[in-house]
């Protein structure tokens, strides 16, 4: 039985199947919309490895922050699978997935830039939160205090970490946008 991993928060789409030992990964730099790639990639990944939906025991999906549209594409796919096949869904933040991929003896900080600022999160060496996830326009203060992690993802570690948490009710799956959109602040 496999865990299906879905990460679409950035321009690089990553899907993977993991049976607890061997990781089968499929990655693609999305040139146009993620929509063109994600479902065909999933089909190919499963077919090439003779994995059917019956062989999927749960899904781990990265729910942001990052590209709003990208996140929604991955979560739409993950929700459809988990709802229709009644499988547990585990969510993990994109910042957390960067932090748990990286071993350090010190505090470590994950940074995801977007057009106006940065999403950040800081963990200690045992992966306890030091600075909760937030959106900042200027992060110089944090950069002077903490080491930035590389951003390389270790999918095995991410899945193991996510599965230690509780599954989420599929009806209550939400994206982790972090940023509140401007219009919602100036409601009429």
């Amino acid at each position: 039985m496999y865990t299906l991993f879905i990460d679409t928060h950035s321009s690089k789409i990553c899907l993977a199947l993991y049976d607890g030992k061997i990781l089968i990964k499929s990655e693609k730099e999305s040139i146009e919309s993620h929509s063109i790639y994600v479902v065909p990639m999933l089909k190919e990944l499963m077919e090439n490895n003779n994995v059917s939906f019956d062989d999927i025991k749960n899904v781990v999906a990265v729910n942001g922050p990052g590209s709003f549209t990208g996140i929604r594409i991955g979560l739409s796919v993950a929700k459809a699978i988990c709802y229709s096949l009644d499988k547990p869904i585990y969510l993990i933040s994109s910042l957390t997935s960067m932090l748990v991929s990286y071993e350090s003896d010190d505090y470590k900080m994950a940074v995801i830039p977007d057009n106006k600022g940065f999403y950040i999160s800081v963990f200690d060496k045992d992966n306890n939160s030091v600075v909760d996830e937030k959106y900042q326009e200027n992060i110089d203060e944090y950069l002077s205090k903490y080491n930035k992690v590389s951003g390389l993802l270790d999918v095995k570690k991410i899945i193991d970490y996510a599965l230690m948490g509780e599954p989420v009710n599929v009806f209550k799956v939400k994206a982790n946008y972090v940023k509140v959109i401007e219009v919602m602040n100036d409601k009429k």
Partner: protein, 445 residues
Amino acid sequence: MIKSKQIKEYEFELDYFIDESVVGYLKYEVTYEVVNVTDVYVDDKYRKQGIATELFNYLFNSVKPEKFMLEVNENNLGAINLYKKFGFVTIHVRKKYYKDGDALIMESKVCDDVYILAIESSCDETSVSIVKNGTVDVATTVNSQIDVHKNYGGVVPEVASRMHLENITFVLDETLSKANMKLEDMDAFACTYAPGLLGSLLVGLETTKTLSLIYNKPFIKVNHMMGHIYANNIGNNMSYPLLALIVSGGHTDLIYMESETSIEYIGQTLDDAVGECFDKVARIVNLPYPGGPNVEKLALNGRDTYPMPNLLSDGSTNFSFSGIKSHVVNLVHNEKQRGNSINEEDLCCSFQNAVTKSLVSKTLLALNKTGAKNLIMAGGVASNSFIRESIRKMCEENNINFSVPDKKYCTDNGTMIGAAAYVLYKNNKFASLNTNAKSHELLTL
């Protein structure tokens, strides 16, 4: 174009014409409850253009026996694949019937009912429906975000997309439980892929493609405006050739359809869509979103007292609504400057009358131009009672057969997407899993 003729008492022939010559035909015999297809032929140079498919679809639509049968040479793989696509299965093999091989006897039991699950998420409504045979609304759920967007005076795309993602599973689940059906009971999965708000469309699109992959059933992409047109098939059957008047927040189109798979633009708006114009007028007189229905409500108690401009009376079948919009803006502004109050009910009434007059006269012009005897109306603005009744009256006076969907099928819903998807299903028009959403697209099948 296909024409049917009777050869003998039980023998019939469907001829496929291109430029008045027959380039393909299908012959069949009717015996009791069985239709035996005796011969199918398409000229060499017209092969691989879907002519045989069209002939078969015509056959399936015109006769309703218990089963269809035919015989085919086992080496004729192209034909066998086509027959399989239509649901024919081999029930008997006649050994060495042909010089070069066996004959396969194939039959197709008349298709069971076709159930399509259809998702609509192009704007601010998340809707999932199950539609039987393109005409029966088995179950529909519509989750409208109007109450949320009212706070902003219009649809905010990012807010809409966020809500679609949160709502889609609830709406899907509710529809399945209302219908007492399972996802594995579906014959195909369909959704709107264009036109609309990209972020919103993508939620429905990715959900639908994933379901199609899981259950290994066809994925059908539907143009939203095509959905509005085929809403007229719900509980009804559209008659062709027809003229379609599409009136919505994004469109004002006159379209001629010779058959269910042909589309010809007869007229379009040169600027604003009629629904957009209603919404603008609503804003000018400070009516809340959605403006159209509120303008209609006020107009009900008003009188036609404010003079309005003539709308594009150029003899064409195109529309223009930007002029009347500016006229209303200026009128209100000038009256305010003079310190006069505006009678909002009269203003809405005068405005609605002028717009309706233009819709009626241009539609009549297009009916005369095309010679169509059937008119259908579609789109959100088709739920405006005054416009519906005015068009209906014009049709009665001109002996035109008029059809407009129930009001609940005029505004965005999954049912109409399922109705349109069924037409595509019958014509084997399936989409690939790499389909992307599009914000703009002309009407296509």
